[in-house]
C-alpha cells in the first residue's frame, strides 16, 4: 500500500485535468486540461514498466543491469504522438471558433441549439 504512493501523482494529474475541462470556461484552458489528463495517463503507462534500479532497455558497451520493461515505453511513445495530433486539431478548431465569435469563452459561444 505504502509503496503505491507515487502512483497518486497520476491521479493528481488526471483530476486536475478533468476539473479544468469541466469547470474552466476558456477553450484554451480546456485544451490544457485535456493535455494534463493525457500526461497523467502517459505517466501511469510508463511507470508500469519501471523496475527498481533498472536501466533503459538499450544494449551498450557499459555494464548492464536489470532492464526496465520496453513495451510500456513504446506504448507511451505512441500515445504521446497521438496526443500531439489531437492537440493540433483542437487548437486549429479553437482558432476557427475565435474567428467566428471573437471570444474563447464557452458561455458566450452559442451553446446548445435544441
Amino acid at each position: 500500500m505504502i509503496a503505491n504512493i507515487p502512483y497518486l501523482a497520476v491521479v493528481g494529474l488526471i483530476v486536475i485535468g478533468l476539473s479544468a475541462v469541466l469547470f474552466r470556461k476558456n477553450i484554451i484552458k480546456m485544451i490544457i486540461g485535456i493535455t494534463l489528463i493525457e500526461a497523467g495517463v502517459n505517466l501511469f503507462l510508463i511507470t508500469l514498466g519501471y523496475r527498481e534500479g533498472s536501466i533503459a532497455p538499450i544494449w551498450t558497451s557499459s555494464p548492464g543491469g536489470v532492464m526496465a520493461y520496453p513495451v510500456p515505453q513504446a506504448l507511451t511513445l505512441t500515445s504521446i504522438v497521438i496526443g500531439v495530433a489531437v492537440t493540433a486539431l483542437m487548437l486549429s478548431l479553437a482558432i476557427h471558433i475565435y474567428r467566428h465569435h471573437g471570444t474563447l469563452d464557452v458561455r458566450k459561444i452559442g451553446g446548445d441549439d435544441q
Partner: protein
C-alpha cells in the same frame, strides 16, 4: 498456392493496408485530376469490400482467422503473446461489412454532393482514414491497437464534422466531439494500462483468458464501458451525437453511423469476450443496466426528435432512439447470460434477443444512413434544412421521395422493411423477460413512425412552393448511392431469415461463446 489463397491469408492486413495506401495516395492523385481521384477512392473501397466478402466466406465456413503482424511464428508458447494480431471472428466481419457498405455508399454519394466544395483531396483522404479506423477497431485483437484505431476514427471524424468551417455551428460541433471523444479515448487507455499492469498482456484473448475480476478489473470495466458507450451515443452521454450528425456533411453523417456502431462493437466485445469468462460474476445487474440505458436512449431520442425543426437534427435524434433498441436486445441477452441459475438453453429468448440486437445494428446503419442521404439530397436541391421552409418536394424529386418512404418505413419498423424484421425479434424476446420492455419499445417505434410521417408531410407533400419551382432531381451519383442502400433495405426486409441465418446467427454465436475467440490460445487449432 493460388493467388486467391494468398489474398485470404493476407486479407486481414490488406483490409487495413489497402485503404491506408489509398489515403496516402489520394492527395497525390488529386493533383492530377479530380475525377480520377474520386474514381480511385471508389475503386479502393470496392476492392476492400470484395476482400471483406472473401474473408467473410472463409470465416463463416471455418471459424475465426488470426493474422500476426511481423512474424510467421505467431506467439511463443501459450503464456506470452508478443506481437500484435488481428483476430477476425464472425462478429468482427459482420461489423466490417456494415462499415464498408456505409463508406462505399458515402464515397459514391460524395461525387456529386461535395463537388462544388474545396479541399476535396483531404476530404477523400479523411474519408478513407475514417474507414481504416472503423475497420481497424472491429478487426483488431489487441487492446492498445484498438485504442490507436479509436483515435484515428475520432480525429478523422472530428475533422470531417468541422468540414463546413465557415459555419460556426459545424466548428463547435467538431470541437465538442473531439473533446468528448478524446477524454473517452484516454479513459480507454487508462483501462488498458490497468489491465496491462495486472496481467502483462495486451492481447484481448490473452487478457480474457487470465482475467480474474478483481476490484481493479471492475474499475477498468467501468472505464471501458463508459468511454465506449459514449462513443456509441448511449443516453446520458449522447449530447455530442445530434450536433455532430446534423452539422457534418450528409455523406459524413453516413459514415459517422459506422463509427458509432464501432463504439457499440467495443461495448459488446468488452462485455462478452474480454470479460466473457467472468460474466457470471457481476450478477444480473449488468444486463439490467444495459436494458435500462437502452430504454432511456429510446425515449430520450424519440422525445427530442419530436420537437426538432431541423431535418438532419431530427434524423440524428431518431438515430439515438434506434441505438436504444440494440442495447435493449443485447442487455436482455446479458440478463440471462449473467444469471448462473438460468442456462441459455432454458431461456431461448435470450439468444433471439441478441440476434435481434445485432441484426438491428446492421438495419439501423442502413435505415438511418438512407434517411441522412435523403436529407442531404433535399439540402443539395433546395439549400434548406429547416422543415418549416420545405414543402411540396415530391413533385420535382420523385426518386428521392421514394427513397425517403423506404427509409421512413424501415426506421419505424413497418413490414416489409428490414427494420421490422429485427424489431420483431427484439419485441418477441424482450416480452418474455418483461412485457413492459417490449411495450415501451413498440411505443417508441410508433412514435418514430408518427414523427417521420409528419416530416414526410412537411417536406414532400403539400402545395408546390414557388421558391422550389426550379428544384431538380439530384444528380445520378447521389441517386445510385441511395439506391444501393435502399436495395439492401428491401432485400433484408424481404428475406430476413436468409440474412439472419447466414450472417447474424454466426455473429451472435461468436459473441455468446468466446471459446472460439480464445481457441488458438487455449490450444485448439
Amino acid at each position: 498456392m493460388s493467388f486467391l489463397d494468398q489474398l485470404i491469408i493476407h486479407g486481414p492486413a490488406l483490409l487495413i493496408a489497402l485503404p491506408l495506401l489509398g489515403a496516402f495516395l489520394t492527395p497525390l492523385i488529386g493533383r492530377v485530376n479530380d475525377k480520377l481521384r474520386n474514381l480511385f477512392v471508389i475503386i479502393i473501397l470496392g476492392i476492400t469490400a470484395i476482400l471483406i466478402l472473401l474473408l467473410a466466406q472463409e470465416i463463416f465456413a471455418s471459424g475465426p482467422i488470426t493474422y500476426v503482424f511481423g512474424s510467421t511464428a505467431p506467439y511463443v508458447g501459450k503464456e506470452t503473446v508478443i506481437r500484435i494480431l488481428f483476430e477476425i471472428d464472425a462478429l468482427s466481419i459482420f461489423m466490417a461489412m456494415i462499415g464498408i457498405i456505409l463508406s462505399f455508399a458515402a464515397a459514391i454519394y460524395s461525387w456529386a454532393f461535395m463537388e462544388k466544395n474545396t479541399g476535396l483531396d483531404k476530404y477523400y483522404a479523411l474519408l478513407l482514414l475514417l474507414t481504416v479506423g472503423m475497420l481497424g477497431m472491429v478487426l483488431t485483437g489487441d487492446m492498445f491497437n484498438f485504442f490507436v484505431f479509436l483515435e484515428i476514427t475520432s480525429i478523422s471524424s472530428c475533422a470531417l464534422i468541422a468540414y463546413y468551417v465557415n459555419k460556426a455551428k459545424s466548428v463547435e460541433a467538431g470541437f465538442k466531439y473531439i473533446v468528448v471523444s478524446t477524454i473517452g479515448a484516454l479513459f480507454v487507455l487508462m483501462a488498458i494500462a490497468l489491465l496491462y499492469g495486472q496481467y502483462d498482456a495486451l492481447n484481448i484473448a490473452k487478457l480474457a483468458d487470465s482475467i480474474t475480476f478483481s476490484f481493479v478489473d471492475k474499475i477498468a470495466l467501468v472505464l471501458l464501458l463508459a468511454a465506449l458507450a459514449m462513443k456509441g451515443g448511449i443516453v446520458p452521454m449522447h449530447m455530442w451525437l445530434p450536433d455532430a450528425y446534423s452539422r457534418a456533411p450528409a455523406s459524413v453523417s453516413l459514415v459517422l453511423i459506422g463509427t458509432t456502431q464501432a463504439g457499440l462493437y467495443g461495448v459488446f466485445r468488452v462485455l462478452f469476450t474480454l470479460y466473457g469468462n467472468v460474466i457470471e460474476l457481476p450478477t444480473i445487474s449488468m444486463g439490467w443496466i444495459l436494458v435500462i440505458l437502452g430504454l432511456l436512449t429510446m425515449l430520450v431520442g424519440v422525445i427530442m426528435a419530436m420537437i426538432q425543426v431541423d431535418f438532419k437534427r431530427l434524423i440524428a435524434y431518431g438515430a439515438v432512439a434506434e441505438l436504444g433498441y440494440m442495447f435493449l436486445g443485447v442487455g436482455t441477452c446479458l440478463t440471462v447470460l449473467a444469471n448462473p441459475e438460468v442456462t441459455l438453453a432454458q431461456a431461448p429468448f435470450a439468444f433471439e434477443a441478441l440476434k435481434g440486437g445485432l441484426f438491428h445494428v446492421f438495419n439501423d446503419a442502413l435505415d438511418v444512413g438512407l434517411l441522412f442521404m435523403v436529407a442531404g439530397a433535399v439540402y443539395y436541391a433546395t439549400k434548406q434544412t429547416s422543415l418549416n421552409s420545405l414543402g411540396g418536394l415530391a413533385r420535382n424529386m420523385k426518386y428521392t421521395t421514394v427513397f425517403f418512404i423506404i427509409g421512413l418505413l424501415a426506421v419505424s419498423g413497418v413490414p416489409p422493411m428490414n427494420g421490422f424484421a429485427s424489431k420483431l425479434l427484439i419485441y418477441e424476446s424482450t416480452y418474455q423477460l418483461n412485457p413492459i420492455l417490449s411495450i415501451v419499445a413498440i411505443l417508441a417505434s410508433i412514435m418514430l413512425l408518427a414523427i417521420f410521417v409528419k416530416v414526410f408531410h412537411a417536406a414532400f407533400l403539400g402545395p408546390a412552393l414557388p421558391q422550389f419551382e426550379k428544384v431538380k432531381e439530384v444528380p445520378k451519383s447521389m441517386l445510385i448511392a441511395m439506391g444501393i442502400i435502399a436495395a439492401f433495405i428491401v432485400l433484408f426486409g424481404l428475406f430476413p431469415d436468409l440474412i439472419v441465418n447466414t450472417i447474424v446467427d454466426p455473429a451472435a454465436n461468436a459473441l455468446i461463446d468466446n471459446t472460439g475467440y480464445l481457441q488458438w490460445l487455449t490450444g485448439g487449432a
